[in-house]
Symmetry: C2
Subunit: 435 residues, 2 copies
């Protein structure tokens, strides 16, 4: 399956060759999807078990391929340290990939599950049953482990997948992909069930976004905001994604201060670079006198920059003034915007104007305020008395996720195996005709 | 609310005016959607009750407006009789609209329903709860009753709707729309919850397909194949639709002939113009000697043209030869394509090559064959021993439908109130933070 590193580079007919290559990948993925849709759970699990074994057995080869990728990225000279960190695999990260495959094997198989069943007065029985979506296109950036994570989640949910990794991680992805293909082969499943685009040519991304003549049913971008924005702009097929997580924690006047401190610190500082991290703190004016100073001091003492409105600035001299832009910013860093608002109504209004429909939390001892917040804030995930950092498929109990979606169609919130399915209606009769 | 008939016609700044008008409609619909999303079921039902009353009370005005539309269409001279029939309202059809509103009022309110609920090991409880989609754009052709049917189904599901009817039915739609607005007003709901585009300018359709700057979340086209094709081609937002229903009835060798005849006759001839009508008959070679001739004669005797392969042609001299094109054709008429296939495998293969993923049926006394057909045919609705004409939201027990979708995302099969919803996750904790 491994193609030469620059299969279609430096060729006068390059664009044409690439189009033919990608169309062929699409056709084969579509054919594989039809086989996968009918594959029994045991066969998919046999493949997953073999993949887990192959990743462990080929750990050294994966690490060697990754070392080449990292050396090339370093030599190019313009990679940031966080980029190099995302690109780098370690023995522990490879083991983590293998363990991840084991976790996906353990998830309940969503395909064929009957989610509703009812009988009509004329005696017909109707069932709504889960079926795969078809072919998923995954476009990701530097993290090579996405190849394994996304590949096996698509397999579990009966979908074929076309993976297009960042060109910097090309060799790493290829080594990982070979292990996945070995697993498919051992289980007697078509190798095109998990395809890695075998070229670094960036034009391949545009072709995937066009849907490859109907061969791709949905695109999942995994990467930074510019990738997601491009995908949302250009894709001619549905996209499961979130552009950003401008997430809020609102501290109601009724909140227990100790709980508020613990949740705010966790929501902002546990990991600042994840999409579930809090970016804005909203404090109820009714108890600002009691709550504002301790919350702001705690954040500042933990090394978090605080950008506040006038009231927040008065709480501590280290607070910087917030600009209008701050209310709309996803920092993904140890920075938080902070504002005093007029109760739960004020919090909801602020979130409506500035939120990104991702994840928002209220800390409150008042059930009515909490209930109002949970019902009126229009985000994929709304929490009462818990940290926004729970915005994660694993934390939801989905076992694994391919990403988090903020759209309102089909998938919303963490996208796990179940969200990668569609459904159909099975009707059983005894000769019924329609009057 | 009623706008002049040609509000923005004959104006040098026409395109610009229209864009401003449509943007304004979008903004007001979006604002109304936020109110509707939180409206209690009783308030929506009060509006529905008032609408039902208003339709009955204004029956004469609706019929008078419709008579003007019909007279104009007749005067234009190029309308077919079936077009005039679709356009024409009668006292019975107006009463049918009122009754339809009553039926929608009786449907269970889908909004706020918790569809899943589970607890995490750390004590957090997670609920998946239904919320509206937002703003639905409905683009329809000559049938004025779609304004009422689609308008009230969107209201029931907490969505605002922008209705754009065919220009031939403009006066009829306006009269119906006034009744709907009266109902909204009586219940204290925003009038922009159900908006009728107040112009016949066709450019409004293109603007709706662009999504009106994010104001429209989903488009539902109701009309012929050319309208649906245009919408699927141009829309920049999700579309719930089916392009066509090339539906199959497969008569397995094990089928009871009397049941097969009854189902085939109903599936093809009950109403030939509906999307659930059968268009192709597939007969198992194993019992063709017994079944083919009676089925074909029955259809011919009922006035149905039969276009068959060689084996079918031999069954009766009246059978015409089928061309390759016939296998892909949705006749919507008293014509059927007929073919002999090799068992359920052959039927599945034919449907995979020629079907439109709408509705397909098997008639069989063999459970294994039926089960294989139901699992392997990739259509929104698959039936065993029942007529394809059951492809209908009412027949499914949904109370009403806005259409039938053949896409794999979000809504598939009949699109009722429940399918016009999205969901969010409500998480309740007691101070949990993520380790």
């Amino acid at each position: 399956m491994a193609a030469p590193l620059k299969a279609v580079d430096g060729n006068a007919d390059r664009a044409c060759d690439l189009l033919a290559l990608m169309s062929d990948l699409g056709t084969r993925a579509r054919a594989a999807a039809r086989v996968l849709a009918l594959a029994p759970p045991e066969q998919k699990n046999r493949a997953l078990e073999a993949m887990e074994r192959a990743i462990r057995a080929n750990s050294a080869a994966i690490l060697a391929a990754n070392a080449e990728d990292v050396a090339e990225a370093r030599a190019a000279g313009n990679a940031t340290s966080s980029f190099i960190d995302r690109l780098t695999l370690t023995p522990a990260r490879v083991e983590g990939m293998a363990e991840g495959i084991g976790i996906v094997r353990g998830i309940a198989d969503p395909i064929g599950v009957v989610t509703e069943r009812w009988q009509r007065p004329n005696g017909m029985s109707i069932e709504r049953v889960r079926v795969p979506l078809g072919v998923v296109g995954v476009i990701f950036e530097s993290r090579p482990n996405v190849a394994a994570d996304a590949g096996v989640l698509c397999l579990k949910s009966g979908n074929a997948v076309i993976l297009r990794g960042g060109s910097d991680s090309f060799r790493s992805c290829r080594a990982i992909h070979e292990c996945l293909v070995q697993g498919l082969r051992e289980a007697g499943l078509p190798e095109a069930a998990i395809t890695l685009v075998p070229t670094r040519d960036r034009a391949a991304v545009g072709m995937m976004l066009s849907g490859l003549n109907g061969a791709i049913d949905v695109i999942v971008p995994r990467g930074g905001k510019s990738l997601v924005a491009r995908v949302e702009q250009e894709a001619r097929v549905p996209v499961f994604a979130h552009l950003e997580g401008v997430n809020h924690v609102y501290i109601d006047g009724s909140a227990d201060l100790a709980m508020a401190k613990s949740i705010v610190l966790n929501a902002k500082m546990r990991r600042t670079g994840v999409c579930g991290a809090a970016e804005t703190l909203l404090v109820d004016r009714a108890a600002a006198g009691k709550n504002l100073k301790p919350l702001v001091e705690m954040l500042l003492d933990a090394g978090c920059e605080v950008r506040g409105d006038e009231a927040v600035q008065k709480a501590d001299a280290r607070v910087k003034p917030a600009s209008e832009e701050d209310w709309d910013t996803e920092y993904l860093d140890a920075i938080i915007a902070a504002k005093v608002v007029d109760g739960v109504e004020g919090a909801i209004a602020h979130i409506q104007d500035h939120g990104s429909h991702h994840t928002d939390a209220i800390v409150s001892a008042d059930e009515a305020a909490a209930s109002k917040f949970l019902s009126e804030v229009d985000s994929a995930i709304v929490l009462h008395n818990a940290s926004t950092q729970f915005a994660d498929g694993g934390e939801f109990g989905f076992g694994a996720e391919i990403g988090i979606a903020t759209g309102r169609f089909h998938a919303r919130g963490p996208v796990g195996a179940e969200q990668l399915t569609s459904f159909k209606y099975r009707v059983r009769g005894t000769g019924q005709t329609r009057p």
